[in-house]
Symmetry: C2
Subunit: 118 residues, 2 copies
């Protein structure tokens, strides 16, 4: 489930050039994720700026992190992405021809608890 304020938070997190590119990068990276350094290189953003955006996206619940030796591996939270999309399209067209729009149910539940039941 998604409530209005968390949806606003998630959309706000994505509403920024670097963060959108970053999130899409992780979405496309799949379950393997990417270490912060590699992301910084791929996006051409200074470390301190990237860290800021990474934290923003994390706080919004759109990505998760996992430590792997010295590096922090980030990966997209597909469940959150699907929830957000579902929230946007909720009761779409007042019940007209609307496919439920489903998506990447990937195995994105390796380290952290992805079960954000609340």
């Amino acid at each position: 489930m998604v409530d209005a304020s968390s949806a606003v938070g998630a959309l706000g997190a994505l509403a920024q050039e670097h963060r959108l590119a970053l999130f899409r990068l992780l979405v496309q990276a799949g379950a393997d994720g990417m270490p912060a350094g590699a992301i910084a290189g791929a996006l051409g953003v200074p470390n301190s700026s990237l860290s800021f955006h990474l934290a923003h996206l994390t706080r919004a619940g759109l990505i998760g992190q996992e430590r792997r030796s010295r590096s922090l591996i980030y990966r997209a939270n597909y469940a959150a992405m699907n929830d957000l999309v579902g929230y946007l399209m909720e009761n779409c067209c007042s019940g007209a021809a609307c496919a439920p729009a489903k998506a990447c149910g990937a195995e994105a539940a390796p380290t952290q608890a992805k079960r954000k039941s609340a």
Copy 2:
């Protein structure tokens, strides 16, 4: 199609409490849309503020307007919404188990030219 900057624009347009509520209201209203006054009433937002948000959403291409007598009818642009979602999920999971995620193909192309080819 969607490019990065228009996606950022659309997400930024949705990343605001009132605008998100407004957009969802229109999404749920369906093809009939709603006049500005009714929206202001439903959201409890002053006219001048609502107009600002309406313009923002319109500039982002997420909603369209049509004059009907003295009122302006606003309605969601489902094509834009679907494009945005498609952009977010593009190449999801690096080709893993990802459904193409489709949605409200409604007849949302009444007044303005929705063909933003460029």
